[in-house]
Amino acid sequence: MSMKTSDDRFNHRVSKELENTFMRGAVSSAQERFQTRRLKQADELGHWEEWRSHGEEIRKHVLANLDYYLYQLSENVSKRGGHVYFAQTAKEATDYIQSIAKKNKAAKIVKSKSMVTEEIDLNAALEELGCEVIETDLGEYILQVDDHEPPSHIVAPALHKNKEQIRDIFKEKQGYAKSEKPEEIALYVREKLRNEYLTADIGITGCNFAIAESGSITLVTNEGNADLVTALPKTQITVMGMERIVPTFEEMEVLVSLLTRSAVGQKLTSYITTLTGIKDEGDTDGPEEFHLVIVDNGRSNILGSEFQPILQCIRCAACVNACPVYRHVGGHSYGSIYSGPVGVVLSPLLGGYEDFKELPYASTLCGACTDACPVKIPLHQLIHRHRQVIVENEGKAPVSEKLLMKAFGLGASSPTLYKMATKMASPAMAPFTKDQKISNGPGPLKAWTEARDFPAPNKDNFRDWFKHRQKGGDE
């Protein structure tokens, strides 16, 4: 699949997704869990704002000197026996990778999760050659078996599916005979994929962070699949977006600390792996042949523009997890592999306004994304800027913001919605509430709560209280 995941119109996609009640329930509970865990980790770490500022300064510095760090990276990868290919377009990247697959007469290829390989539509290019391509991340594997359904979340690609649906997919496609218990499904996939790792000709990975000084690549997973993908096949191909680079191990460490906390609320994920070049002499496992493919595919056009800060992104999806619009419409509504606020900013830049001009309106501009971002990308400002550019070009907005907000269920125009919203205020604030005070508020409350505590919404809201009082209540 390429970056664009749907030819359906934006409004149709949204209406369709809004009817998917399982997805909506799954997304809102996932958002809450992700958010609570992220805030807990940020709190435990301490000095979170300073960490964010450090993350930001590292990412800004790298972007301002990107040519130098890519030069240094390529020199050091080459010294350790790796081949580096710079691809300006998706086509150049897939052509090169096809040529490696052909040269190695690859029949089977195992892959660990990578957004950039989705972006350049790599699987289709390899399948065209007759290669069998197997995704090994559990979520990605589920979607692949389900006729290549697109991911709905950057970090948890199969978030929109429930365990019964997943059980049925394996049952229908592969004759899976056990229950819908996640442990049983995972054990089944473990056994199924074990043999694939051992017999694959090529392993393909993405890259969380390349390290310029040592020529290493860093992979972050919980499942350990990236380790098997890189340890067992004889040839390894790593595909990276050109901006995913840091100067040294020391900056990698800082960004990984921000990434794992922001993405999944863990201090570190189970596996952080840094791989440098081909395997060392005498090593049994690890690749004999290593190719690093560095992809531009539209990124350099963002450099030097007012949208440059989006290239700071480390793909943690904290913005996705904080976004009220994503909560209502889910990942597939965006029609791009990049969903949520980061997708709203990035998709039109990489894929053009023609296909993605409605996306900047899939935002309330509330700023919760900006506050959640661990590297301080001013997301809501960039979204706003997109709207200005679109209106400047077209003379009018492509969609009515007011109607959209209503469709998202985010308007305050109806008394029912208003009632629901004020009733929700108390439980929604619960994760931030301590002794009836909100001391670490999200979104717009944050600026206030940084300086002082905000009184928690009453369990009784005003309308309820007034009604109660009219009936002769005490208070």
């Binding site: 002499e281 496992d285 690890g286």
Partner: protein, 239 residues
């Protein structure tokens, strides 16, 4: 080692430099940063306090932890092996096992108890993978241990195969107490220094934090996916 090829670099980097409004750069000094929050974490902690942090963190990462000394290590290791059902063990080829006093356990007691031991052998590449794949337990040793996150850092080499910590169902990692540092910051600095002094770093450096897991199905945590299903750390008093 033969250097790899580099293709299309000049045109690619020129475009970037042009977008940034200057000529391409191939020299630069190391930047100085305005913020350094990472040094504050567990700054004043003693080694014993770091052990406490590690023990506490193991609860969050579904990992058992045993504290011992070299005298009790064989008995304590044996308990963990039995707990995992014995059968077959794969280890690195590493002199430290002998130094920790494990020779008699591994080479005398295990054969008697019908526990098979395979030691990684760089001369038998295919056998290594075959053995790692069928072994019930893999034993490795942490080079640097991160208290904050509960992470063992492993360096690969010809005698220290990557697969030993990934393929067996159960993973035991020996942690010399002297290897414990506050967090990843210290490990990153140590490795960076090696890079700067021109030392060749291991082709694979693993930061391993507990057994493999996933929350890809309904956000429900599953422990044990592609890597080990269970993990135990054994901290050895070595100073």
């Amino acid at each position: 080692m033969m250097a790899g090829t580099i293709e299309n670099r000049d045109v690619f980097l020129s475009k970037i430099a042009k977008q940034l409004g200057r000529v391409p750069k191939t020299e630069m000094e190391r930047p100085t940063w305005q913020y350094q929050p990472q040094d504050r974490v567990l700054k004043e902690a003693t080694k014993d306090e770091l052990v406490e942090v590690l023990v506490e963190q193991c609860k969050n990462i579904h990992t058992d932890i045993v504290l011992t000394n070299t005298a009790n290590l064989p008995a304590d290791l044996q308990k963990v092996i039995e707990n995992y059902g014995g059968q077959s063990v794969i280890t690195w080829k590493d002199k430290r096992f002998k130094r920790f006093g494990l020779s008699s356990l591994m080479t005398e007691q295990w054969p008697q108890a019908n526990i098979q031991l395979y030691e990684w052998d760089s001369k038998q590449p295919e056998e290594n993978i075959r053995q790692a794949e069928k072994a019930n337990i893999g034993i490795t040793i942490s080079e640097i241990t991160l208290a904050e996150s509960g992470t063992a850092v492993l360096f690969s080499s010809k005698d220290k195969g990557r697969s030993v910590s990934f393929l067996p169902e159960n993973s035991i990692i020996l942690i010399p107490k002297s290897t414990i540092v506050p967090r990843m910051t210290q490990a990153a600095r140590l490795i960076s220094e090696k890079v700067r002094t021109g030392e060749q770093i291991a082709s694979c450096i693993n930061f391993i934090t507990g057994p493999s897991n996933s929350a890809d199905i309904e956000m429900i945590l599953i422990v044990g996916v592609h890597g080990p299903m269970k993990a135990t750390y054994i901290v050895i008093e070595d100073q």
